[in-house]
């Protein structure tokens, strides 16, 4: 019967979706499990909080953790504010029609540019031209360009999803455009903007190419002192240990250990953003503000 065929198709579709979900979760578990298997033995309090020793065949990875943390935080600051401002301009003030389409297309294309290209750009502009040298500043500025398109397009989508009736309601009360954006539009878009920032954090923490020439060093004796210091960073540290290590037996496990730390660092930073988002959401849903 027709009805039966339909429910059968429905069932097949459901099975397929579930299979894909299980497969994806499996791969994720596999990667985490693999990392833990290879690197768990080096994990310890000292591994996280100590400096590397013996040409990085022993000791901890603290400077790399700290370096990545600085790079992530600063690149988010450098990209979130201009990114959100840019999205607001494009969506609320900007020209409609072909100009807007062109800008949107260029932003989307920007996110398709290989990150090594941004690395070279950062080297030419921030390191050399502006004279920031190989430093946290140069590296985080370069990273911020990498994540800027994500922030702009996600924020813009969040703004576009807010019904026109909200803007009209506010403007009809005699609000200016800016009052409307600030008091009505942005609060409603905040959860989505935070999601974009979370994605940006993951990206900034994991990228190697953009910091390769702009911020990261293989080894540094001391912790960074200012934004003009060069830093060790986790992804580059892993890369360097695996490709340029002199004592693979002891260094490869350290690379796996560092990978686990990187994974959890991203998870922790993301969780805090998710926590803020959740808090904001429930505040909004329950009592408004």
């Amino acid at each position: 019967m027709k009805m039966q065929a339909k429910s059968l198709r429905q069932y097949a579709a459901f099975l397929m979706v579930r299979a894909v979900f299980l497969f994806t979760s499996f791969i994720l578990l596999l990667i985490t499990g693999f990392l833990l298997l290879k690197g768990a033995k080096v994990l310890s309090f000292d591994f996280i909080f100590k400096m590397p020793e013996n040409s990085m065949t022993a000791g901890g990875i603290f400077p790399a953790i700290l370096g990545t943390f600085y790079l992530v935080v600063m690149s988010i600051i450098f990209s979130a504010i201009p990114g959100i401002a840019c999205a607001i301009y494009l969506n609320e003030y900007g020209p409609k029609g072909w100009i807007s389409t062109m800008i949107r297309t260029s932003i989307n294309n920007l996110s398709g540019v290989p990150s090594i290209v941004f690395g070279l750009f950062g080297l030419a502009v921030f390191v050399k031209k502006l004279g920031f040298g190989v430093s946290i500043l140069s590296g985080s500025l370069t990273l911020s360009i990498v994540i800027l398109p994500v922030i702009i397009s996600s924020t813009r989508e969040a703004l576009m999803a807010i019904p026109q009736s909200m803007r009209e309601a506010s403007m009809a009360l005699g609000a200016t455009k800016w009052e409307t954006v600030w008091n009505i539009i942005l609060p409603q878009a905040t959860p989505s903007i935070l999601t974009a920032i979370i994605i940006g954090i993951g990206r900034a923490a994991g990228e190697t190419a953009p910091i390769l020439f702009t911020a990261a060093v293989f080894y540094s004796k001391e912790l960074p002192r200012s934004i003009f210091s060069e830093v060790m960073a986790l992804p580059y540290h892993i890369y360097a240990l695996v490709t340029e290590g002199t004592a693979p037996q002891s260094q490869i496990p350290i690379a796996y250990g560092a990978s686990i730390v990187l994974l959890f660092l991203v998870i922790i930073i993301s969780l805090s953003a998710i926590y803020i988002r959740q808090k904001h959401r429930s505040a909004y849903a329950k009592i408004g503000h």
Binding site: S170, G174, G288, H289
Partner: protein, 281 residues
Amino acid sequence: MLRLDTNKNKPDFSSTEIRDPLNRVHIDVSQQPKIRVRNLDFYYDENQTLKKINMDIYEKKVTAIIGPSGCGKSTFIRILNRMSDFAASSKVRGEISLERRDIFDPEFSPVELRKRVGMVFQKPNPFPKSIFENIAYGLRINGVKNSHEIEQRAVKSLKRAALYEEVKDRLKESALSLSGGQQQRLCIARCIAIEPEVILFDEPCASLDPISTAKIEELILELKKYYTIVIVTHNMQQALRVSDYTAFFLMGELIEFNETKKVFENPSDKRTEDYITGRFG
């Protein structure tokens, strides 16, 4: 919104004369109108949506705008508080004055205009904030800083919108938890809190049940004491019940404008008669 009038033929508000040989558009020249509309043309791109509209809106009276869908009713009232500014590539020609002041005058900012000419929309559109905050927001952006005063005026406007008794114990709850009818009354409260002179209603009952509709109609009759009201409605009975004047629009033209009683009992135009007796539209 682009204004097509050149500087040379600047609006001249001394002219009251309207060419209307059949006297279908009856303008009471003895009254000083709150809003005066003269020779108003409006275009979306190249499509002319309003054609040579001439009418007056009298103070502390209810003016109903009726007509079939798409005849330009919403377009018309959205020009009165310049919400039409947001329609891309729209053009306007003609004169509209609020108490003899040209509303298109570059020195008369639309923000200022909208503080004096408020609007209630077809679909209730409260902000996803608390009931109280929905009203407080409008007050704050209009420069009321004192929290005591904000509270007082919020309560007053909720009372005036006949909503206070229903929500007084839950002012901190989300406005979205209210029923559709309550949301619409909240939107009315939000609008009157900033004490406009004119309130524009665009089919305020279109999405409401009969009981909520009756409440809003009752409310409009009450609000008439304080405000000048323009209401777009699809419902002939509603126009008859709440309005003092009625304007009948058809395909962008104002076919007839007169006292409501006259329009309904003795329309001057055949098309008006056909419409109100339900023969089309």
